[in-house]
């Protein structure tokens, strides 16, 4: 079943091609077409400013996927660095880094990010970094555990005895062996990043209007649930479609990792 990968690839393609595919400009206001129910001209309807919801969903995909993918990259890179050093160095370094990991895991992630977003008023790149550094802990734990197991396997000692430096052992010998586990944890971080961005934007502290993101479209929809329910349907359905396909890809990767 390659369906999840196809769906995810389709979403990325739609996001990249948004300027070509979108029937309207996402911020084009048309006051004669306000609050229109879905029709042939506006397949997902229009909002209270007459903006086309379908076009905004497409442009919103750019923001959501950008935040999801790049925040996962930040989370993965910092997690690999911290977990790798902890697992390789062991001893006091390991103890300190793992206590820091535990501390970060004890702070509820969404509330922490909500406060950070209010305090720092981040742009989209800053939001990516924030969500990324709030998500390094899982990868760090996985990498540390892998490195500890691999370190006991003996080939690290062999490489060291053959004259390889610490950096070389880490990057050339340990990291490739932990690659599958890292891939699984980064996939999970993509889904989490998308959910976190949409939640932050839903609470009005993430991606700020007039830029469209799936989360802030739902924030806007909340006020008009009884009169324009279509505003709430499409953005949420797209979030769900994205997170489900990413989780299924992660599941497949994890199953593959178990076999090896």
């Amino acid at each position: 079943m390659r369906l999840p990968a196809l769906v995810f690839a389709g979403l990325i393609a739609a996001a990249l091609a948004a300027p070509l595919v979108a029937p309207y400009a996402p911020e084009r206001i048309d006051l004669s077409m306000r609050r229109d129910a879905p029709s042939a001209a506006h397949v997902f309807g229009t909002d209270e400013l007459g903006r086309d919801v379908f076009s905004r969903v497409l442009y919103g995909a750019r923001v959501s996927l950008e935040v999801g993918l790049f925040s996962a990259a930040v989370a993965g890179a910092s997690g690999v660095a911290i977990g790798g050093v902890a697992g390789y160095a062991g001893g006091a370094v390991d103890a300190v880094l793992m206590r820091a990991t535990d501390a970060m895991l004890a702070i509820p992630r969404l509330p922490l990010l909500m406060i950070a977003a209010v305090v720092l008023q981040p742009s989209i790149p800053a939001l990516i970094v924030l969500i990324g550094i709030a998500g390094w802990m899982e990868t760090a734990r996985v990498v540390r555990a892998e490195f500890r197991t691999l370190g006991a396997a003996g080939f690290v000692e062999g490489a060291r005895a053959a004259g390889a430096g610490h950096a070389r052992v880490l990057v050339r010998h340990l990291l490739p062996n932990a690659a599958q586990a890292v891939a699984v944890s980064i996939t999970l971080a993509v889904a989490r990043g998308i959910l976190l961005e949409s939640a932050l934007s839903f609470f009005g502290v993430g991606v700020r209007p007039p830029a469209a993101s799936w989360g802030n479209m739902l924030y806007q929809a909340q006020a008009a649930l009884s009169t324009e329910p279509w505003l709430a349907l499409a953005p949420g359905a797209f979030i769900l479609m994205t997170t489900i396909s990413v989780s299924l890809i992660g599941d497949r990767l994890a199953a593959g990792a178990m076999k090896n």
């Binding site: 702070i107 922490l112 949409s198 609470f203 909340q222 769900l240 997170t243 299924l248």
Partner: protein, 321 residues
């Protein structure tokens, strides 16, 4: 071996939790003070507040002192239970939190119970019928539940049951002026559904996994060979051995009792700690936000400790010393 949970184990875990909360408090404190203009930034933007007043407030709140001194003062006061006064209404933070606690405990306790009631049949059933349609359906449902944005799920339920069908109220804890038990339960139903379904999705996957593992153990085959009825094999022999990880997970999630379900409560305007958090966020009420984040983190640490203890009591294979 004697006592499954030795006092030494408890003492060591307790001592480990102290530096953990120390680190947490430093992160929380530095974050709040990272705001340009510090915690008073909201007044700086207000043209009705004179610079002299801000200066006076700054001195009164001790914000003119070095950062480490402020941190130390705050932490020491926090540990003694002096959590300061709310920026938005001037009342003690502790009072604001305590008055919201009952609503959160009610919602979360009912949701935890409902989530368990969903998890047991789904998790066990999926493990027993592994690979068959029930398992597949349960797997798809639980994957969707985990991937579902809780706030959107809440909006959908409001649209269907409150606005569309008109069966249930869309928000709040009781009809103003009215009330009574039925009214109360009607308000409770939708937020409970959101929270319980999200929790049960994660839990049932977990229970399914540990049940499948346990059912493949030799002692289960031995019980079957002795002619023990299948129902008894599953429920009396396998289940108790598979419950350990689930109990640990449920205990960790029970920290929501003290931290509040931020998303669910806010969507349904349920007047608990989660709503207090988003209200404080909208008003930049930093004393309330700091206290709540510290409280949540302490709850997570405490409930994690409780989960380890519970796991050790239920499953003698887990070393607790």
């Amino acid at each position: 071996m004697g006592d499954p949970v030795s006092p030494r184990f408890l003492a060591r875990r307790f001592v480990q939790a102290v530096p953990l909360l120390f680190l947490v408090s430093a992160v929380v404190f530095l974050l709040i003070h990272a705001a340009p203009g510090g915690p008073l930034a909201i007044y700086l933007a207000n043209p009705n507040v004179r610079p002299a007043d801000i200066e006076r407030l700054r001195r009164a709140l001790g914000l003119d002192r070095p950062l480490w001194q402020q941190y130390w003062t705050w932490l020491w006061a926090f540990v003694r239970g002096d959590w300061g006064y709310s920026f938005s209404d001037g009342r003690p933070v502790v009072a604001r939190i305590v008055e919201r606690l009952p609503a959160t405990i009610e919602l979360v306790a009912v949701a935890l119970a409902c989530a368990l009631a969903l998890t047991m049949p789904i998790g066990i059933g999926a493990a027993v019928r592994r690979g068959r349609w029930f398992d597949r359906a349960a797997t798809i449902a639980s994957m969707a539940g985990v991937a579902l944005p809780a706030f959107w799920f809440g909006l959908l339920l409001q649209m269907i049951f409150a606005i569309g069908l008109g069966w249930l109220p869309s928000s709040g804890r009781a009809t103003p002026g009215g009330g009574g038990l039925v009214d109360h339960l009607q308000h409770l139903l939708l937020p409970t559904a959101v929270l319980a379904i999200v929790l049960a999705s994660g839990w049932s996957r977990y229970l399914r996994g540990s049940m499948i593992e346990t059912l493949s153990q030799p002692f289960v085959a031995a019980a079957r060979a002795r002619g023990v009825p299948e129902r008894r094999v599953v429920l009396r022999h396998a289940l108790p051995n598979a419950l350990g990880p689930l109990i640990a997970l449920v205990t960790v999630d029970a920290a929501l009792l003290v931290s509040g379900a931020v998303v669910t409560e806010s969507v349904f305007a349920w007047p608990g700690l989660g709503s207090l958090f988003t209200e404080a966020l909208a008003r930049r009420d930093y004393t309330v936000l700091m206290a709540m984040l510290m409280l949540s983190a302490s709850a997570v640490v405490a409930f994690n400790l409780a989960a380890d203890v519970a796991h050790a009591i239920v499953d003698p294979r887990v070393p607790a010393s």
